[in-house]
Symmetry: C2
Subunit: 301 residues, 2 copies
């Protein structure tokens, strides 16, 4: 089967899993559930649950205990977008060609929907404890990794540094920018892959290797975002291009130039694949995961 076909099949499987875990829209609090489901169903590449499932598969994981974690990480990713888009934050009206949650449901309900998704992510992941497959220790560890990488020492920390960088304008250094990318983007990629590894029973050294590879995948993925903001079009990307320049935002591209950024991005991506391929000696192999990682830096949206 070719990669694109296989990718689409796996996206479809993930969509089914996510939908199964979203809340039913009913009762006096129906509106927040509608806003939550709207936010998740707006779409996306489902990259984080996919990386989680493929890393789980890499280490021999084969049962459904990973599924609540897959839904959970997509809920966390979605909530972060809902709150980022708020007028008090980035004030974005469109994402993936659709109106953002606050535009449709209002600011107050968008704040609650984001809170609801973050909280529901933990409710959902905790359902894995009631399922067979894996053990309670692994589940608690996977949950701890997810929580830490999503929090103030992870994604929320990156978002904080990003907001502070906006106030600094062009004084932002490469160290500051790498902190932002590491935390805002790479941390959740790390959480996805590390949780997959932990749930499949990977050892400490393997988890540490996965953390390093996921860091490089996350940074390479973010650089591709910065490149696309310069080179893509509104139609392809589903959101305005050139917004970084308009907002005088410092990016990897503004700091290093587009060619050097692309070169470093390829280097990181190749190195991540090399790291993961080193696990083949121990009998752990997943060709689809290797292709997926390489596809991230050639994606056009």
């Amino acid at each position: 089967m070719n990669f694109d076909r296989e990718l689409q099949d796996r996206v479809n499987e993930i969509e089914t899993i996510i939908k199964a875990y979203l809340p039913e829209e009913s009762g006096w609090a129906k509106t927040v559930m509608e806003a939550m489901n709207y936010s998740v169903n707006v779409g996306g590449k489902r990259l984080r649950p996919m990386l989680m499932a493929e890393t789980y598969r890499l280490f021999g994981g084969a049962d459904k205990a990973i599924e609540p974690f897959m839904a959970a990480i997509e809920m966390i990713h979605s909530y972060s977008l809902v709150h980022d888009d708020l007028p008090a934050m980035d004030n974005d009206e469109y994402r993936r060609g659709k109106k953002t949650t606050w535009v449709v449901y209002g600011d107050a309900m968008a704040i609650l929907a984001g809170d609801g998704l973050l909280n529901y992510a933990f409710e959902t992941a905790l359902k894995s404890f009631e399922m067979s497959g894996s053990d309670a220790g692994r589940k608690a560890k996977a949950l701890s990794i997810l929580a830490k990488k999503a929090g103030v020492h992870g994604m929320i920390g990156g978002q904080t540094a990003d907001i502070e960088a906006e106030n600094l304008g062009h004084q932002v250094t490469i160290e500051h920018l790498l902190f932002i990318h590491e935390h805002k983007t790479a941390a959740l990629i790390q959480a996805a892959m590390m949780a997959g590894a932990v749930m499949a029973g990977a050892g400490e050294e393997q988890i540490s290797l996965v953390e390093k590879a996921a860091y490089e995948i996350g940074i390479a993925f973010q650089i591709q975002d910065d490149i696309l903001d310069v080179t893509s079009s509104l139609e392809t990307l589903g959101k305005p291009v050139g917004s970084d320049a308009k907002n005088q935002k410092t990016t990897y591209v503004t700091l290093k130039g587009i060619e050097e950024a692309a070169r470093e991005q390829r280097e990181m991506s190749d190195h991540a694949v090399k790291l993961l391929r080193s696990l083949e000696e121990e009998g752990f192999q997943n060709e689809f995961l290797m292709e997926l990682i390489q596809s991230l830096i050639t994606r056009i949206k």
Copy 2:
């Protein structure tokens, strides 16, 4: 020792526990950590961790494994206030006589601080898995209860229904109002007491009894809030009084009158104590908890 003295001692113990679990303020994301810590340190009665600790004690719990959960539930309570106070929500500038988080740190940082506290609550509670005392099954169950009662089927659901009630004005029915109070206020009181019971190894019937008692304690507590909004003063309460009337907000007091509201409140509080006292037959007794519950409906702030 008299009740007030004992209460103050226990508040002090809880303050020490909460402070020990708050994040250290450092690094590029320092500001969000400052805003989180400001939000929690603004004070409060620490009622939820206290009810949790006392219910844990009621069922014979004696070790520190409950402490991360105590800190976690106060973080959840604090985050809900930070987001409630935002201009896009209730637009409140003062709480407990101090400036609210968004007034000090701005809207964007207050949104992130709320997200940070909610996420950190789970990170913190998950630390209990690394501690001795209780077992992993109990910890996972306590965490699931906490997550559910804080989420869209609990506190966030209540907040949603509250916002929708504001749009309805005086058409709000007693059923709608009870839904709001049950979810916005009682759910987290239930989470506190149920998590305490679960962590101490209480059985299903005991947990169910605690859930019922906590419902009544939560509603009685909320009615006292509504009564104080009519009868108290700014100096005593630390926030403007008469705000419900000003906002044309439907409360238990506007629907039933102050005397009937006070009567029902006492009935619920007495019944909660009676329910919990029925556990004495099984050898479970905590006099301080009984006094604490009764004190809630005579409190003046």
